[in-house]
């Protein structure tokens, strides 16, 4: 089996989908000639030409909005927003146009499109190259939201996103782009949107996470193992819809849970998962469901690594929950 990084998995998935379906086009800032600032579209313009890999002007509203027009007119655009932080100039397009098109037209018009974006911190990018805005997307009815954490998932989920009949916001934690190399099948495969992955089974505590923070969460689980605590690790992968069943089953089993995410805490995905757990399996809980999250500050440059949940912070929280 070939091995690949996450960024290679993006290229691979796009390449496969473009060759399968010529309605699939890639568009965004620097995606063509430059192959993307992270090279996540490298080689595609050479292969498919400038009509299918479109270098757009510097406007996220134009990118997202034009992608919507193309999607409603029969294409399958995969738009790239260069950094998740830069989705905001296009946010009205996303909220007012993309998310509501199917609904407002009573199903007459649809928006089968993907909006890809590198997200998250840990690359010394400061305020505007580090944010994790997934809560904004998930809070907006009509958008599916995926955040990947492995090359394998990236390929399978991105392909599903391209084939989905709904708009999918597809987030790629940039600090993982080249951090992990993984074996992937040579044949194509799909991973369904909406299903979590159990990364490690365990019985003492459930660690629920997704995206970049999967790294620290898995490390924390290993350390816990070392001190005799069996942690179950769940990677949500899809945030809208998220896999409530898998999460609740795990918490019902372990009775203790941490939700880990590097996004700011206030009104976050972590809050949603924690609130749902409290609502649905309160009686199984042997300790409060704790959230280990990014802080409610803009993303600081000088404290780049401190902002995100560290292994220590996860372990401190685990200790609180285990000792409760």
């Amino acid at each position: 089996m070939p091995t690949m990084t996450m960024v290679q998995a993006v290229v691979q998935a796009l390449d496969e989908e473009m060759s399968r379906d010529n309605r699939v086009v890639v568009m965004g800032e620097d995606v063509g000639k430059r192959g993307g600032v992270f090279l996540a579209t490298e080689g595609l313009q050479q292969k498919y030409g400038p009509d299918r890999v479109i270098d757009t002007p510097l406007s996220e509203a134009a990118i997202i909005g034009a992608a919507l027009g193309m999607a409603s007119h029969g294409m399958r655009p995969v738009a790239e927003v260069q950094f998740a932080d830069y989705v905001f100039p296009g946010f009205d397009q996303l909220v007012s146009q993309v998310a509501k098109l199917r609904y407002r037209s009573g199903g007459q018009f649809t928006a089968p499109m993907v909006i890809r974006m590198p997200s998250g911190g840990g690359v010394r990018g400061g305020h505007h190259h580090s944010q994790s805005p997934e809560a904004h997307f998930a809070h907006t009815a009509g958008l599916k939201v995926v955040v990947v954490s492995t090359p394998y998932d990236t390929r399978g989920l991105l392909k599903s996103a391209v084939r989905d009949d709904n708009p999918v916001v597809f987030m790629e934690p940039k600090r993982l782009y080249r951090a992990i190399k993984e074996e992937v099948p040579s044949q194509e495969y799909l991973i369904p949107i909406g299903e979590a992955a159990i990364r490690k089974e365990g019985k003492d505590i459930s660690l629920i996470s997704y995206g970049g923070s999967m790294v620290e969460t898995q490390k924390a689980a290993e350390e816990l193992e070392g001190v005799g605590v069996s942690a179950e690790v769940i990677d949500l992968r899809s945030l809208m819809p998220w896999d409530k069943e898998t999460v609740l089953a795990s918490v019902a089993k372990t009775g203790r849970v941490l939700v880990v995410s590097e996004a700011p805490r206030m009104a976050s995905i972590a809050s949603e998962v924690a609130a749902t757990i409290a609502e649905e399996v309160l009686d199984s809980l042997e300790a409060p469901p704790l959230r280990v999250t990014g802080f409610d500050t803009p993303y600081p440059y000088a404290q780049d690594k401190v902002y995100m949940p560290t292994v220590t912070r996860i372990l401190n929280a685990a200790k609180r929950v285990l000792d409760y």
Binding site: G65, A66, A67, M70, A71, H73, P89, G106, G142, K144
Partner: protein, 368 residues
Amino acid sequence: MTKQSAQFEPFTPKTISLLTEQGDWAGPFKLDLDQATLKRFYRDMLAARLLDEKFTILLRTGKIAFVAPHSGHEAAQIGLAHALQRGHDWFFPYYRDAGAILALGVPLKEMFGHALATLADPAKGRQMPGHFGSKSLNAFTPASAIASHVPPAAGAAISMKLQNTRQVSVCTFGDGATSEGDWYAGVNIAAVQGAPAIFVCENNKYAISLHYSHQTAAASVAEKAHAFGIPGYRVDGLDVLASYYVMKDVIERSRQGHGSALVELEVYRFGPHSSADDDTRYRPKEEVEAWRQKDPILRFQRFLERQSIWTKDWEESLRAEIKAEQEAALQEAISAGEPPVEWMFDDVFSEMPWHLEEQRRLVTDELS
């Protein structure tokens, strides 16, 4: 250099007009529309006006909750609707386009169904009145957020170009819309892609209470086209023939691969911004009265009268016919019934995720 339209120059210092206020043909070319077409234009303008009036009655009697009257925009809207190839070209309307939508061929029953939010609304009552769309006629269901449909209109045009469909994408909006960033971003991407998009401003001089002179310091919307390197045309939108011919020409130019264009149709809204507005707070009555003297329907009527097409009798029978059609369609729309409450959970996605199933159950439980 982008090719310009065949008959009309962009950026003319004077507004393009073909009919004098007295209803005389003043075009630089020979009028080539047959009588049936001219009559159709007139009928559509009249039907649009009467629809506005009907909506206002329904509003007063509490049957509908909102209307954004288009009276004063009829010549512009009917002219442009006839310049499109219906069912082939795409139209991205805004909320004040009921006249254009009607002339495009959306059935009256659907329009009333939409205004009343009954099952006769192809959009299932999801939005406020004034947000007409139709998949079968390629009329993109509008959102209320001003100018937000401009980038999608650009995108549709890019798709047309990439797929070589020989369609065009026509997008309308008000003068106020031209201040939104999304307006600019949308026009720019269409223009640089050389896409067949025609952006049409129905400039009625006001955005709710804001006069155009406070909207922008640009002397005209048409000249904003310079920012995109595309031609801009300033047209008398009270003149249905000028609106039609310029739009036709500009559309053909785009269809033939010469890229995007911006057209400003100068109109005036006779009524308030919407049923929620009191326009006397910001517009002098005399100003409104002076514009009403330039009624686009009357101007075209005078023209048709000189051509011996319009007669009082015809007018009367036409009005009776239209009103009867409206009344019948209204009754059909009403009797279609209301959309079931649980439908509010459909169409968020193509399939229903668990959380919406749960939320739907909450509502059905509550109602049972």
